[in-house]
């Protein structure tokens, strides 16, 4: 397994957010983490990369227990994280944003150069010296993914990549994710949009109120409209 999460519990102060979260991601797989707003998707990702201080459980990445490692070591090990809020450095130019993400070449992962990323996201190549604060939401979303890919991750946690984007940009996003998959990057993508998830994912987990309540292939999920309606539709 690429990534195994077992018995993950997280707290913000006195509030208990995640309850015994567990899921697995195989080598080269795209796994969707589905759930409504506030279900705990982002907290799950933040907990995996160590940005939530109060957490317990076990996180195995490429066979190593990384639970107790600090964030930067987890990421340097090849586990990339793309936050939901994008968190572009607004004062830095596109190229400088990419430079922050740069990590050395990794043997078991595709090697991303700036030029390769500009080919993946052509919009970005036209604004290399533009400050991140003067970009549209879709451009920022591309930049935040490109920035994480600069670290040559073997697995990427993608938090709601389609949120708030126009249909045209969403299409580009689907292409980009499929390209990443083809290059051999494993991906966990959190989504509210089942349609989007279906286009890219092999398997899916559903999270509701901080608990995993379903796990299976996309076909298995389609066979259970009751689950879909209970946990995903509005």
């Amino acid at each position: 397994m690429k990534l195994t999460v077992e018995g993950l519990n997280s707290h913000y102060g006195p509030a208990h957010i995640l309850f015994d979260i567990g899921f697995e991601v195989g080598e080269g797989e795209v796994v969707a983490l589905l759930g409504r707003n506030g279900a705990g998707k982002s907290t799950t990702f933040r907990s995996i990369v160590g940005l939530v201080a109060q957490r317990s459980g076990r996180i195995m990445f490429e066979g190593k227990d990384v639970t107790a490692r600090p964030t930067h070591e987890i990421v340097r090990g090849g586990l990339g994280y793309v936050p939901e809020e994008r968190r572009i450095f607004t004062d830095l130019t596109v190229e400088e944003n990419l430079a922050v993400g740069r990590q050395p070449k990794r043997a078991n992962a595709p090697y991303w150069t700036r030029e390769k990323l500009f080919a993946l996201f052509p919009n970005l190549s036209e604004m290399r010296n533009r400050p991140g604060g003067r970009m549209s939401g879709g451009e920022q979303q591309m930049l935040t993914i490109a920035r994480t890919l600069m670290g040559n991750p073997t697995l990427v946690l993608l938090d709601e990549p389609s949120e708030g984007l126009s249909p045209k940009i969403v299409e580009q996003m689907v292409d980009a994710i499929l390209t990443m998959k083809k290059e051999g990057v494993s991906i966990v993508v959190s989504e509210q949009n089942l349609h989007f998830a279906r286009l890219i994912s092999d398997r899916a987990y559903i999270i509701e109120r901080g608990r995993i309540c379903f796990g299976g292939t996309m076909a298995e999920l389609d066979a259970r409209p009751d689950i879909r309606d209970a946990h995903l539709s509005l």
Binding site: V49, L51, P70, T71, H72, V75, R76, Y81, P83, R87, F89, T90, D91, L92, E96, N97, A99, V100, G101, R102, Q103, R147, T148, M150, G151
Partner: protein, 629 residues
């Protein structure tokens, strides 16, 4: 004309060092979010070490090498401080960080006296820049010209460092979003350490470069840090260009202020700072801060008024305290009066800090103003004591109303820096305006009238006033005004959204706290029979902060307990050792690192644990302390 040009150039030369120190402070703040109070101390150590090195090694190489080596040595000390101390408190509230670095400053002040002695040291002149340049009959030291060139050169180097190196890009990224930087695989720890090293290097270089111009002495840290605070408030914290522009502005104002108001030149800087704050509260080149991080008080268990048993216990404690004259001698009673006065001072700061969430680093200004108010009334107008005691604190009220108006426009560290700068300005006026305040000699001979003259009578007076003030402020905490104030502390935005005028509430709290401190000051003037500029000095402001912290910033009764314990300890300590600053500084650092909840906070926590573990009623531990109210 030539004279004014020379004056202008002198100002520019002074700006160089100020810029170095201020830019260092700004860089460190940008990334670590710590306002490094110890920056002035690093500046001072830089000067001392440079003095020693340039003194020992001859020649041009010895001089310039010594300057650079001094700055590097201090940077190394900075790295040590960062790794041992600051790493432990990055997640603490801002107030604790300011206090910890202030504790360091105190320790350094005693240490440099231990190592280099108390006398001013005159450094070597810079080889190659010993002479002066003739400018239309006016002399300009050539070293000043060197400094004038150096300032922009350093600015340029810093610009290249931040724009053209990966390290600079990482630092700029971390200034905006530290967590994201580490989520991209960058080791924050070393980034912080390296940033701290660069910032300290700049401060120490600023100090080292001063030795051909000024004597090296053990009070230069506070002088520079106050100017630096003014510079970063004007220029905008976190902006290097802002630091440069503001350093030039402040230095020029100082250079020309001497010509306009020779006695109180600092007024001019103050006026400019006030003007900038009204127009751009975040400084000329700064940007509006995101809502402040955790303020002290946020983790409080909801406060509750005392139960009737606790009220009885508090009353009993007061009665016991009032019986002291039956047991103790005159010295103990004088100490008792002083402690009672400091209880007033501490509860006034506690009201502002814990209830209002506004940590003032210059609260002594209002204490001292109250004392000076009494002195003016008693000595100049010859009014009776009762009138003086009632009217004198109004000077503190007035000062708080004026300065508070500006201060509450800001929050968090800006608020702390601004209040410190205001206090320092008041101190300078008291120190420099000799014809009115007597300057360093103070105003003497303010003795209480007959009815309050005996130590026991004065003690009862002080104790009574302290009790009234404490009860009054406590009532205010649980009044609608207190609720509104606590709401602005916990979330200014949300409280404005329900119709509270946050700024006005905070301003009112500032005035209440200032007036109360003034009452303490008024009594203090009669206790000591004199007033001095030290009555509004920084060290007194910090005493108050430590009292509140020691008692527990998140508790209602902490200030009272903290004041009693701290003052008693302090009086004892001063009688025991010459190195009181060293001990006190170490003590502050210790509280911040291991004991952040204070005495009452600790006891409450223990009581809470016992209450959870065993049936109610066994929480006896908390009572003796709570009853001190």
């Amino acid at each position: 004309m030539a004279f004014y040009v020379v004056q202008f150039l002198t100002g520019l030369a002074s700006a160089a060092s100020l810029f170095l120190v201020a830019s260092g402070l700004s860089i460190i703040f940008g990334v670590t979010r710590i306002v490094n109070f110890a920056h002035g101390a690093f500046y001072m150590i830089g000067a001392y070490i440079a003095f020693t090195l340039t003194d020992r090694f001859a020649g041009a190489f010895g001089f310039w090498g010594g300057i650079v080596a001094a700055a590097l040595t201090v940077a190394l000390i900075g790295v040590l401080v960062e790794m041992v101390l600051l790493r432990r408190i990055y997640h603490a509230p801002e107030l604790f960080q300011l206090l910890a670095t202030f504790g360091l400053t105190l320790m350094v002040e005693d240490l440099v006296v231990l190592i280099w002695g108390p006398d001013d040291l005159l450094g070597r002149r810079a080889p190659g820049f010993k002479g002066a340049v003739d400018f239309f009959g006016q002399n300009i030291p050539s070293y000043d010209l060197f400094l004038i060139v150096l300032g922009p050169v350093v600015l340029g180097i810093l610009w290249l460092l931040f724009q053209r190196t990966r390290w600079g890009v990482l630092v700029r990224a971390a200034t905006q979003d530290r967590d994201m930087v580490s989520a991209l695989g960058v080791n924050q720890k070393w980034l912080f350490t390296s940033v701290f090293a660069v910032g300290v290097f700049l401060a120490a270089l600023g100090g080292a470069l001063q030795i051909p111009r000024d004597a090296v002495h053990h009070a230069m840290d506070l002088r520079i840090i106050v100017e630096v605070f003014v510079v970063v408030v004007i220029g905008g914290l976190g902006s290097i260009v802002g630091a440069f522009v503001a350093a030039v502005l402040v230095s020029e104002l100082n250079a020309f202020g001497i010509l306009i108001f020779p006695k109180i030149s600092i007024i001019l800087v103050f006026l400019v700072m006030a003007a900038v704050l009204i127009v751009r509260p975040w400084g000329l080149f700064g940007r509006p801060e995101a809502p402040a991080r955790k303020t002290p008080g946020l983790t409080v268990n909801p406060w509750r008024p005392l139960t009737s048993n606790e009220r009885l216990a508090a009353l009993a404690a007061l009665v016991v305290a009032a019986m002291l004259p039956l047991l103790a001698g005159n010295y103990a009673l004088t100490v008792g009066s002083e402690i009672a006065i400091f209880v007033i001072f501490a509860v006034s700061l506690h009201f502002l800090m814990s209830v209002g969430g506004l940590a003032s680093f210059g609260h002594a200004a209002y204490f001292g103003l109250g004392a000076y108010g009494v002195a003016f009334l008693a000595k100049m107008a010859g009014l009776p004591m009762i009138v003086c005691l009632l009217v004198g604190p109004l000077l503190g009220c007035l000062g708080a109303a004026v300065f508070g108006f500006f201060a509450v426009q800001l929050s968090g560290v800006y608020f702390a820096m601004l209040t410190l700068a205001f206090a320092q300005i008041v101190w300078s006026i008291a120190f420099q305006w000799v014809s009115v305040t007597g300057g360093d000699n103070g105003i003497l001979g303010i003795w209480p009238e007959k009815w309050a003259a005996s130590p026991s009578h004065f003690y009862w007076l002080a104790l009574g006033v302290a009790a009234i003030v404490t009860v009054a402020l406590r009532i205010a905490v649980f009044s609608p005004f207190g609720y509104a104030l606590r709401a602005t502390r916990d979330s200014a935005l949300r409280s404005e959204a329900i119709g509270i005028n946050a700024k006005r509430i905070q301003w009112t709290a500032f005035v209440i706290a200032g007036t109360t401190a003034g009452i303490g000051g008024a009594l203090f003037a009669y206790l000591k029979g004199s007033v001095f500029p030290d009555n509004l000095g920084i060290s007194l402001s910090v005493d108050a902060l430590v009292m509140v912290l020691l008692g527990g910033v998140e508790t209602v009764s902490g200030a009272v307990v903290g004041a009693i314990v701290y003052k008693a300890l302090n009086i004892w300590l001063v009688s025991q050792t010459d190195l009181s600053k060293l001990v006190l500084g170490g003590f502050i650092v210790l509280i911040v690192v291991v004991f952040p909840k204070g005495i009452v906070g600790m006891l409450e926590m223990l009581a809470q644990r016992r209450r959870n573990a065993s049936p109610p009623g066994s929480a006896l531990l908390a009572k003796p302390i709570e009853s001190a109210e």
